[in-house]
Amino acid sequence: MIIEEKPRQQETPAKPAYKVIGTRPVRPDGVEKVIGRAKYGADIDLPGMLYGKVLRSPVAHAYIRSIDTSAAEKLPGVKAVVTSADLPRLSSNEYIDMGEGGGQLQDLHDNILASRKVLYKGHAIASVAATNPHIAEEALSLIKLDLEELPPVLDPLEAMREDAPLLDDQRYTESLAGRSSKPSNIARHAQHAIGDIEAGFAQADVIVEREYRTSMVHQGYIEPQNGTALWDADDHITVWTSTQGAFSVRAELSKLLLVPLAQIRVIPMEIGGGFGGKIAVYLEPVAALLSRKAGRPVKMTMTRAEVLEATGPTSGTYIKLKMGAKKDGRLIAAQAYMVYESGAYPSSPLGAGMSCMLGPYDIPNVLIDGYDVVVNKPRTAAYRAPGAPAAAFAAESLVDELAGKVGLDPLTFRRINASKLGTRLANGNVLPRVGNYECITAAMESEHWNAPLSAPWRGRGVASGVWYNWGGLSSLTASVNADGSVTLTEGSTDIGGSRATAAMQLAEALGIPYESIHPFVADTDNIGYNDVTGGSRTTFATGWAVYEAAQQIKRQLIERAARLWECSETDVDYTNGVLTCKTNPDLRLSFKEMAEKAHSTGGTIVGCGNPSPKQFGPAFATHIVDVEVDPETGKVQILRYTAIQDVGTAIHPSYVEGQIQGGVAQGVGWALNEVYDYDEQGRLRNASLLDYRQPTTLDLPMIDTILVEVPNPTHPYGVRGVGEVPIVPPLAAVANAIAHATGQRFLKLPLNPDAVLRGLGKIK
């Protein structure tokens, strides 16, 4: 007899009666984008502007013997040519924290323009600026490269072997315990442990062990990387770019080019998608070097092939996972061996993968060993819940098998073992109030879960997932205008609707209409430091900043009213956008009326917020998916998809639903089709969106969402980040549904028709 215990945690408080939060107003940037007037990086056009192009390595691994640029420099129309010799020599090799991911400075330096070796096909080697893009391209063909080709290492497990060719003979394995004695392609070893793993497995009644693999995949943002730079004669640099973090770009440029922060101005343009991939710089420092040489602004944009071959996808992974459960369904032990490929330089999201893999479960005995391994592929970058989807593919597939072996349905098994307030995770964290249990319960009660599904070759799968979210630094100002409107100047680049959610929180805090707020994203010269828009932090942390700014404005409004009414400030009340005098009910001013009097009662009213919130609320999700497998073609059709997620408080429910649907779409693509298809020489065979198969509207049904609201108790409006966890469960949910449909477990992604037919024994 299995007895489920409801977690002992505080009850969910009743939702306050918000006036703006929870509504669905039109986004402030919507019209400009719809009519095509919004300015993206590729729209920049400056007087005298040149066009830059990059010469990239044609091979995956080679020593650079020489680069002869003389013929290119002589081509009419060419104004500058740069190689790694034009980058400043760096004396330090500090770790650069880019917010979501980071890396050693020397590695970032070498990734911008290769010096001694090229480490992947597409690695930038030289760059040309010319009066038009065609001349720049022609000039690239005149650059003579002398490369000594080396065997590439493409598989992380092969790269870990002692006899594997080394990408870097100065790279050693780093861990908390120290550094390896010999060079290695294993850049990092990390370990998370809790309890006694051997004793745990000794208590288990059922043990399952499997090996899982996922491929390197790309974020798939539609707008390619771009960057325009102007290096002035007085050594001030202005950069226009598509980025998730203008301040991160500024910091990277400062370290790479040895120019003080205050001499670099980064202007973030509208962004056509990022998903973690638009944090590291690629073109911006090159454009700046070219601009310095040419004395003119230089614009650079990538082709789609360059985006796929030479920016940062996410890691392919190998995960061996063993889990044990008691007969009553309780998980008792889990051990994992995780290998994440980093690409050419250490950068994989191994730590987050290790932390998130078993996050939905309360398991007393856990041991996880993780390895970050370099291979001859592009340096990886963050991708939506970095590291977590592949880890969840392994854990959630195995949990599904375990549930079956102890005779429980997969949701009941998950709920019995659900992590909750007070659960200590193997990474050392102790969970605050979370909505994991509530999500699983909502899934169990959903119409989808309880709907029949009986046709042959159809299956239903579920999976859970977690992303812990982030806080980071936000800075903004809110200026009250004389007509009662408020100009909200923020520094968080808007990739998912954060201008709207910031404006909504400010309107809520001030008790004024959303339409009165005019939010815009400023450049690095015009606002204080902001961390990147990533880690699902912006609506949370910038929301905190907005709340702080609103409190400052309220205090000033009260001061001014007290001065006008010649009463004590304690006698003034401000509620729902109206000032009243407690001692004289006849005295009353609306926010707008007080704003009109601001200049005559002491000057401009401005609030600012600069918080550094650390107590961010983790987000959990449980997904349900129905699939149909065609046994003749191997094609998998998604029939129905429901994503249940604890969203804290849905500030703008349409944006929350959109984030969830977007994450699911990407996760389904990862599960079914997307793959970096390399040949044996390390050449990417599908470097176009024709061959790199992303899901389209024809591949997906309407994705239903169920928003569970367990407010984050550490945020004034209960906000949790919502943007990343939706991509965590789909890989395993789809794989579990296919297993249900076919009776066959699939341990390697993607599950494209070829893989499905092989799994079914239809082809060899």
Partner: protein, 95 residues
């Protein structure tokens, strides 16, 4: 005395112990005192006066907003955690 949880890979440097009791009114003070008792551990935590990169701290399971400067009280539990940018923990939390 506060209790400091030791990461798995550092436990061999403290005779395999998982938790250690130590005096200290800030995270920095507690770690310095621990480093005095276990110099090999100290060598892994500190690079001169600076904390090595890749570490963050939690007090009673919650991220320490002020990192090394965070004040701690008797019976608090300090966790030395692997830092993860943009996710669970920020590498900057050891500022």
């Amino acid at each position: 005395m506060v209790k400091v949880w030791i990461p798995a890979l550092l436990r061999p440097l403290v005779n395999g112990q998982v938790k250690l009791a130590v005096e200290g009114s800030t995270v920095r003070e507690a770690l310095h005192n621990l480093s005095t008792t276990y110099p090999n551990l100290g060598a892994r935590l500190w690079d001169g006066q600076h904390l090595r990169p890749g570490l963050a701290f939690a007090i009673n399971g919650q991220i320490a907003p002020l990192g090394l400067s965070q004040t701690i009280n008797t019976d608090d539990e300090v966790e030395i955690l692997p830092a993860i940018g943009g996710g669970t923990l920020s590498p900057a939390s050891h500022r």
